[in-house]
Amino acid sequence: MGDWKTITVPVLSSDSKNTLPYTSERKRSPTSMSSQVLRWSLPSSKSMHNFFSAFCTEENIEQSISYIDRELTTLGFPSIYAESKGKELNLVSMVNCMNELLVLQHKNLRAQEEIEIQHLKLGSDMDHLQNCYAKLKEQLELSKREIVGLQEKDRQLQSKNRNLHQLLKNEKDEVQKLQNVISSRATQYNHDMKRKEREYNKLKERLHQLVMNKKDKKLAMEVLNCVGRADGKRGAWRTDKTEARNEEEMYKVLLSDYEQRQKQLLLENTELKKVLQQMKKDIISLLPPQKQKPKERSEDGMVLSDQEEDIGELNKENMWELSCETVREQLTNSIRKQWRMLKNHVEKLDNQVSRGRSGSLNEKDVISRADHELETEKLELEIQQCKEMIRTQQQLLQQQLTCDDDTTLLLQDCYLLEERERLQEEWRLFREQKKNFEKERKSFTDAAIRLGLERKAFEEDRGTWLKHQFLSMTADCKSENVTTPSAFLRSNLTDVSLLGSDPDIRLVRSASRQRRPASVSSSTVSPEPFQISQYIAQNSVASEKPAADNMPNLCVESDDKEETE
């Protein structure tokens, strides 16, 4: 046998395809070829040289060829020889055989690969399973240990329990014993007591006899004079009649007491029955939904109608005057039934509410909740309004109470109230107007400031322009009249006034612009246009004096005007 070696085979030419990890080759020593059966190992990338050189040398070509032919034919391949059993080789068939062999080789390689992969997989699976197995074994161990521990505890507790039971039994026995002891002692004491009492009674009797004997001599009672009875009557003799009368009186007393008690109980009963009736009515009124579904629960509906009939009957019968058992039972039973129905109803509602809260809302529910909220808001508003009304009414009442009861005063109060309310309204309006005026004034002041600034700028320009003019004019013609500068000046002034009026126009326009919203805001407009017209008048007045500081004066004046009004 050749020796198995694992060698790292150097990669050869294109003949070898794969380098398999498990390569074991059998390296045949050339000397042992003839004696052994060749074992085909997986075609590895071993050196073909060695193999070829080992198998077929130049001497034994024919032998090797015939050997190969035999092998191939045994394997099912066609012979590589030509038809005749000569030494000629059929090349075609040889090539075919070689091809077939190669294909076979490939197949085998692939199969080997697959097998190796499977092998690996199985190996890893096995590892995994082994790990699992180990873990499970550990767990099993742990749980077994736990069980053992718990069993131990259980045993301990049970023994404790038994001990306690035993103790309890002992205590109970002791208690029983003590009770027996007590009872026996009690009977003994009673017996002794009775004996002593009898002795005592005997002594008492003796003493009594002695006392009675002695007493006869003395006068037991000294009274100056007899006192009349408290109620003036005379004492009566002791006769049967009196005894009978005593009995009678006693029974009368008892009977009157019983009668009184019975009256009280009757009153209580009637009150309670009334309360029950009311409760029943309330409960019936609280159970409308059941009436609306007669189809679904026809039986319940029938029951209800029956009950209602009963109720009607009972009501008709004036049952609180009767107090027989059946009527009472009927009443209580009917109330119980209806109370149960009410309870079911309320439970259903609760379930609905809880279901709704848990999330399975219908649209209906959502809407109803929103409606509900709206309604609550409305109600709250109403409540607030009512509260305010109540407060005002209380105040009015208090005022009324503090005043005299004259009607004229009351009327005066009413008138005063009316006037006061009117005044309050007017105050409110006035305040609003004031606010608006403030706003306008602000805007006016802004505009005025702007205007002032513009005027300043304009004045400056004018000044410079005049200077230029003057200079140019004087430069051009110095011989002209003195008046011309004034005329020019006047014309300038008029120009300036014209120009000056522009900002006034602008102001008027702005005022008019502002006038319109102001007029819209206040309903009672009477004082306002008057002010605006004053503004305009002021502006027109101011236009004649194109001085830069007129505007602030105007504003101040208008302020004054405002304040005076």
Partner: protein
């Protein structure tokens, strides 16, 4: 009326002016007014003599001598014209009539705490008797002292009897070794019997409510059980624990105020008034926060009649409140609201409670603890009233006037009258 040694002093109730002065033969042990307030009886137990004085006629006198029979107790009958004397060793009860000078005897009366009970209207009298080691009750008609009913009771040793205020039911209860209450109707039938438990010590005190609706039974287990008059079954148990935890109970605690004395006014030797004010401490009520734990005393177990259990009970006149005292917690008065059957108020005092009594007209309770202060409680609040005066006036017992306007405070040697002002409406 008050007695000093062997003199009887009768004063006017509103002005305490002395109206009459009588002298008796011996030291007076017991005095009692007759029901129409015309006569006063003075009993001298040592001598065995009872003397009766009249208010209308100071010259009228009456003397009843029991002789060798001796005298243990004496009382008026409800009509104010008969005197019942209990002779020594409870041999018999002698009924002396002031109108007819006649005598009646009741044999074999029972020597117990409350052996004789009169109905509120004064018609009937129940007497506890014992013959041949068995208890009996006899009911007499007070008008002519005729025996109406005589029946035996199922008690071991009858301890006391009491009529209900409506005069139709008689409660009889057994000795403290047996817990048993028997209720008899006026004609002697047994209406019901009630027994709460068997072995521990039983009933200590009993109180009827003024409307006869409830019977309160105070027992040695520190509980009060209330029976109702319709079924004679227990409607509730009122417990008296040492710790009060309920939030709805108001606890008033008496707290001492340190006396304030201006140091400039101290003079040597100190005046009497100053001395007394230094030594007498003022006190006031404070409301304690719940939970409150009261002073609990566990008495010695091997003594008879231990200071355990509900010793004192009283219903208010309007039937709304029940005041109780648990002898284990001797400094506290427990006031229960009967309408709600709940504990309403607890008054915690500094000293042991000696006596309390309800105002006969209003729900007002007066309490005394042996100090010189009387404590008043009403649903509106409570107040401490100091008895003014020199030295210590230790109030031992108190008694209301029937109109509810004034109160009698008794100490060992003195008494004083406390007038209560009515509120101006």
């Amino acid at each position: 009326a008050s007695c000093v040694q062997h003199r009887l002093v009768v004063r006017d109730a509103s002005s305490l002016q002395i109206l009459q002065l009588y002298t008796c033969l011996d030291q007076i042990q017991y005095i009692e007014w007759s029901s129409d307030s015309l006569f006063v009886l003075c009993a001298m137990y040592k001598r065995g003599v009872v003397q009766v004085w009249s208010l209308e006629q100071p010259d009228w006198h009456c003397k009843i001598d029991e002789g060798s029979a001796g005298l243990v107790a004496s009382c008026w009958s409800p009509d104010g014209r008969h005197i019942l004397n209990t002779t020594e060793f409870h041999l018999r009860i002698t009924v002396w009539s002031l109108c007819t000078k006649s005598v009646s005897y009741i044999k074999y009366p029972k020597a117990c705490q409350q052996g004789v009970a009169f109905t509120k209207d004064g018609r009937y009298m129940a007497v506890a008797e014992r013959r041949d080691c068995k208890d009996f009750i006899s009911i007499f008609v007070c008008r002519n002292w005729q025996l109406l009913r005589h029946f035996d009771t199922e008690t071991q040793d009858l301890f006391g009897i009491e009529w209900a205020p409506n005069g139709c039911v008689l409660a009889a209860w057994d000795t403290c070794l047996e817990y048993k209450v028997l209720l008899y109707s006026l004609d002697g039938r047994l209406l019901s019997s009630y027994r709460a438990y068997e072995w521990p010590l039983g009933i200590k005190s009993i109180a009827w409510s003024p409307s006869s609706q409830f019977l309160a039974i105070g027992s040695f287990d520190e509980k009060v059980r209330i029976l109702n008059h319709v079924t004679w079954k227990k409607i509730t148990e009122l417990e008296h624990p040492a710790t009060i935890a309920s939030k709805k109970t108001i606890v008033y605690k008496e707290v001492e105020k340190s006396p304030t004395v201006g140091t400039e006014r101290l003079s040597f030797p100190p005046t009497r008034a100053l001395a007394s004010s230094l030594f007498s401490t003022q006190s006031k009520y404070e409301i304690s926060q719940v939970p409150v734990s009261l002073q609990y005393i566990k008495p010695v177990a091997d003594r008879a009649n231990p200071k355990v259990g509900i010793g004192m009970m009283a219903f208010s006149a309007d039937n709304c409140f029940l005041a109780t005292k648990n002898d284990n917690i001797p400094n506290a008065v427990w006031i229960w609201d009967i309408r709600k059957l709940k504990l309403a108020v607890v008054l915690e005092q500094l000293c042991t409670i000696q006596c309390f009594q309800w105002d006969p007209c209003q729900p007002r309770l007066a309490v005394c603890t042996g100090s010189s202060r009387v404590y008043l409680w009403s649903p509106a609040g409570c107040v401490v009233v100091q008895v003014p005066g020199e030295g210590d006036f230790q109030i031992v017992s108190l008694s209301w006037h029937s109109s509810g306007d004034s109160m009698l405070l008794l100490s060992k040697d003195n008494f004083c009258v406390c007038y209560l002002e009515r509120e101006e409406v």
